[in-house]
Amino acid sequence: MKTTPNNIAPAIEVTHFRKVYGSGHTEIVAIRDATLSIARGEIVGMFGPSGSGKSTILTGMALINPPTSGQIAIGGTPVLDGPHALVDLRAFRRQHLGFVFQKANLIPFLTALENVQIALEVNDRSPREARHRAMELLESLGIAARAKNLPVALSGGEQQRVAVARALANDPSLVLADEPTASLDSELGRQVMELFGQIAHERDAGVLVVTHDQRTLDIFDRILDVEDGMIHSRAGHEPLIETRTTSA
């Protein structure tokens, strides 16, 4: 059954997120106690050195790496209580979340159009409807002319745009991006970041971008720094919604 997020509710609310790997002597606390919220229409940048816990919190929010304790609600719907799923996570992901990665991760045997279409078809859209919607998205991102090309024939920027189109296919309330500009030159990286800004502001989606790229700070409504499993709001980038971190 398709769940309908509350439009007034934040895109995502993470409360007392704690993630521990291993146990006993080998226990590693990746995230101590993180609480954050991203509103719809807001684009948030998450910065931090390698091993700081960025990926852990991102995969937790992506519902593929549940927390050891803490809660996650998406669009007002509680989805995780600690490691326990409160909804069908895979169904929830396909209906409400969009993902963009450092590499475009396009399926190599599908054309650009089909790569977008597949995200719609797995969400029960008819092939005809999915094809039409996928073409609309490619047009809106300026790569409709490359719709019939396989990923191998696309430039890095074009591949990333197709990945963005795929992420947006099901009108997600939350888009999670992991280093989306890492493999692009600065000009293309800037274009892609601006695209995320448009997604947040024009499509009313919450967007979280994990990045190292300090040149695009101006794109973000808010910036979070992750260090040693702790999340801090960066000074000068005040939170639209209260963000709190506490030590374990």
């Binding site: 991102l58 995969t59 992506a62 593929i64």
Partner: protein, 404 residues
């Protein structure tokens, strides 16, 4: 959107190459079944075609195919006197190997009971049946003896007057039909020196006897032709074939013949059963086991190929899981590829077999029921083989995409 077909289209060369490999493997499985069928067909061909109602062989033997049978040629006349018997024919069958035109030539020599049997029942594709009592033969094409050609066997030369196609013995050697007399001459041919030594030995034995010394004419007889010595029996034959009168009860004739202690009687079906339970049975079981092994090997090969193909796509599968793709989509991708690979391989096996099997030295008979059975087996092993790939796909975590 059919992901399996799109993936195959993208990797068409690899898929085709793999399918050819699987096809060759399945062609061997198919061929094994065909060889088994051919073995049965060849083994029972002569028994079926010769058109006898009863086979009379040496007592307490399972001859003439399953073991050696030797009975007197005069048995033919005794059998003709039995009520219900329309005809009795001598049957001689033995395999010889000679050298002809510099190559080894193996043939099954069959004796036709001239003049009653001239070979009119034999399916001749070129030439004619026998027209004279000696020095003519009907040969199978597999012997590669052209019509009108001559071949020396023993002390005589025989002309090929008729050709058959696909008439071979249970060992796969081509049949050659002669009159019984010629067949026996070929079978019992001895070098001249051996004949001379035998005659000398006979004379010596007679000379050592009082009768020989008193009757000098006996000495002349002893070193003459063996056929001129009444005490010597005619050479023996392998069997006597009986044709019953229309309406005659087989059971009645058998009951009469069963009182003769020197013979054993078999019906045509019993003769076929003896063949299939005897010489053919071990070959059949061997082929069957080999076939089972090949099917197991095919399953393992397909499983490993599908597993490797799944590993190649593991990031794509993780991505499908991440974007919310149902397990059915992923299972469908792997299962459809396994089935397509199996069925394309099966099709290639059938197609390649059409062109390759005729070159096999033994008959390969592909029965439609075997084709259907193998198709079902291929579907089953394809499904079975996909389990390893499906297990791998199901165990991959969606965050594999993020961590890569």
């Amino acid at each position: 959107m059919n992901l399996a077909v799109r993936d195959i289209r993208h990797n068409a060369g690899r898929f085709a190459f793999t399918s050819v490999g699987i096809g060759l493997l399945l062609m061997i499985v198919m061929g094994m079944g065909g060889i088994y069928r051919g073995l049965i067909y060849d083994a029972t061909l002569l028994v079926d075609r010769v058109g006898a109602d009863l086979w009379i062989v040496q007592g307490n033997t399972r001859g003439p195919f399953a073991e050696v049978s030797r009975i007197s040629a005069t048995l033919e006349d005794r059998v003709r006197a039995v009520p219900g018997v329309a005809n009795a024919r001598r049957f001689v069958s033995h395999t010889i190997q000679r050298t002809h035109s510099g190559r080894p030539l193996r043939m099954v020599v069959q004796g036709l009971s001239w003049p009653d049997d001239r070979g009119d029942w034999i399916p001749i594709v070129a030439g004619r049946a026998l027209r004279q009592a000696h020095y003519e033969m009907i040969a199978d094409e597999s012997l590669k003896l052209p019509l009108g050609s001559h071949i020396g066997l023993g002390k005589n030369t025989y002309e090929v007057v008729g050709l058959t196609r696909g008439l071979v013995g249970s060992g796969g050697d081509g049949l050659a039909f002669f009159t019984v007399t010629d067949a026996m001459a070929i079978q019992f041919d001895q070098p001249g020196e051996a004949v001379r030594l035998e005659r000398a030995a006979r004379r010596a034995r007679v000379e050592a006897m009082d009768l020989g010394r008193l009757q000098p004419l006996l000495l002349d007889r002893a070193e003459g032709l063996s056929t001129g010595i009444p005490a010597f029996a005619e050479p023996q034959v392998s069997a006597v074939l009986v044709t019953l009168r229309p309406g005659a009860a087989e059971a009645t004739v058998r009951r009469t013949l069963s009182t003769w202690p020197d013979i054993t009687v078999y019906s045509t079906q019993e003769q076929k059963d003896l063949l299939l339970a005897g010489p053919v049975d071990k070959a059949r079981r061997q082929l069957g086991l080999f076939r089972v092994l090949l099917i197991i090997i095919s399953t393992i090969v397909i499983a490993l190929i599908i597993y490797t193909l799944t590993l190649d796509k593991i990031r794509d599968i993780a991505l499908l899981k991440l974007i919310g793709g149902r397990n059915a989509v992923i299972v469908g991708l792997i299962l459809q590829q396994a089935l397509l690979m199996g069925l394309v391989g099966y099709g290639m096996a059938w197609w390649m077999g059409l062109y390759i099997f005729p070159y096999f030295p033994r008959r390969v008979l592909i029965d439609p029921s075997d084709l259907v059975s193998l198709a079902i087996i291929v579907v089953a092993i394809s499904i079975l083989a996909s389990f390893l790939g499906i297990w791998k796909a199901m165990s991959v975590e969606p965050n594999t995409v993020l961590s890569a």
